[in-house]
C-alpha cells in the first residue's frame, strides 16, 4: 500500500487499551529495523498493531473491508467485479482483511465511508468497520 505516511496504533489484545501515543511514520521509518523490532516487541507484549495509510483528515484512497464471515469465493468475486484488493491479510484462520485502492488522491471521509459500505454490503464485510478512516 504505497503512501507517504502511515498512522500506527497499538491496542492491547486483552484490555483493548491503546499504547500511549499515536504515531504517524513515513514509509522509510516504517521499514527501519529498529522500528520493526519496536513493533514486534510491543506485539509480543500483547498489543495488536493497526496500520492505516495516512492523509490527515482524509482517507488516503485505500478502503478496508473486514471479511470475517466471507464465503470462500469472495476474492475471485472481487477480482471479477473489478474490485481487486491490493492487499489481503489473514489476521487469524478464516478471517481476512482486504484493502482496496480506489484513488491515488485523498478522499473525503464521507465518500470513503460510502464506498466502504457499498463494498462491505456487496461482499459480506463487517458493516461496523466501514468508517472511511477505520483502522
Amino acid at each position: 500500500m504505497p503512501n507517504a505516511f502511515y498512522f500506527i496504533r497499538l491496542i492491547h489484545g486483552v484490555t483493548r487499551k491503546p499504547c500511549p501515543g499515536e504515531r504517524v511514520w513515513d514509509a522509510g521509518q516504517l521499514v527501519r529495523g529498529s522500528v520493526v523490532r519496536f513493533l514486534r516487541a510491543r506485539n509480543q507484549q500483547g498489543y495488536d498493531i493497526y496500520l492505516l495509510p495516512y492523509a490527515e483528515q482524509c482517507n488516503a484512497g485505500y478502503i478496508l473491508i473486514d471479511l470475517d464471515h466471507a464465503t470462500a469465493d469472495v476474492l475471485p468475486r472481487m477480482r471479477a467485479n473489478g474490485h481487486e484488493p491490493c492487499v489481503v491479510l489473514q489476521s487469524s484462520p478464516g478471517h481476512l482483511q482486504a484493502w482496496i485502492r480506489v484513488s491515488t488522491i485523498p478522499l473525503e471521509p464521507a465518500l470513503a465511508t460510502a464506498v466502504s459500505k457499498q463494498l462491505a454490503r456487496t461482499y459480506g464485510g463487517d458493516l461496523a468497520s466501514t468508517n472511511g478512516c477505520h483502522l
Binding site: 506485539n43 476474492l75 492487499v87 454490503r121
Partner: protein
C-alpha cells in the same frame, strides 16, 4: 508481517497460541472498477443530501412544529427519501408500510416532531390509507414502533425479504401493517 501475531484472546488457536498474521496477496495498483465505485458513492451521497435538504426545507416553511405540513411538502419529503433509498429500483412492489416505518425512524432520528412525522406519512405515503381500516391507529403504531431502537440499519439490502408483499411471503407481517 513476519513475526506479527493476532493478540485478541478470542482468536487464539486450539493450543492457546496467538495466530500469525499472514499476507495472502499483495500488489500495487488501483482497482479496475475504482472509478465506478467512486461515481456511485458520490451519487448516493448527493441523493442523501437532497433528501435531508428537502426535509429541512419543507419543515422550515411550516415554522411551528405543531402545525401540519402541506400535502405537497409531505409528498416531496417522502419521495426524496424513496429516491435516496432507491425503493422503486430495488423493490418492484414495495410494502409501503415498511417504507413508512423506515421513514418514520429516519425523521425521528433527525429530531422531527412526532406530529410532523405523522403528517408526512399521512399526506406523503403513496395512496394512504391504502387498505388500512384504522388509519389513525396504524400511524400511531408505526410511530410507536419507529421510536424503538432499529433491529438493524434501515433500508439495508438484507431487509429485502421484509419488503415483499405479505401475500408473497406468507408472513403475518409486522405491527405497522394495520391489520387486525
Amino acid at each position: 508481517l513476519a513475526g506479527f501475531t493476532n493478540q485478541k484472546l478470542h482468536r487464539r488457536t486450539a493450543t492457546g497460541y496467538a495466530p500469525w498474521v499472514k499476507i495472502v496477496e499483495a500488489h500495487a495498483g488501483i482497482a479496475p472498477a475504482a472509478q465506478e465505485l467512486l461515481h456511485s458513492a458520490t451519487q448516493r451521497i448527493a441523493q442523501q443530501s437532497a433528501a435531508v435538504r428537502d426535509t429541512t426545507y419543507y419543515l422550515s416553511r411550516v415554522g411551528n412544529p405543531s402545525t401540519t405540513i402541506t400535502a405537497h411538502g409531505a409528498a416531496r419529503i417522502y419521495q426524496s427519501w424513496t429516491e435516496r433509498w432507491r425503493i422503486r429500483e430495488r423493490f418492484p412492489q414495495p410494502d409501503w408500510s415498511i417504507i413508512d416505518l423506515w421513514l418514520a425512524r429516519k425523521l425521528l432520528a433527525m429530531h422531527v416532531s412526532t406530529a410532523q412525522v405523522e403528517a408526512i406519512l399521512r399526506l406523503g405515503s403513496p395512496n394512504f390509507p391504502r387498505h388500512h381500516g384504522d388509519p389513525e391507529g396504524y400511524l400511531r403504531r408505526t410511530l410507536a414502533r419507529a421510536a424503538l431502537p432499529a433491529p438493524r440499519a434501515v433500508c439495508s439490502t438484507q431487509a429485502t425479504a421484509h419488503l415483499l408483499p405479505r401475500h408473497a411471503t406468507g408472513s403475518d407481517g409486522s405491527n405497522p401493517r394495520g391489520g387486525r
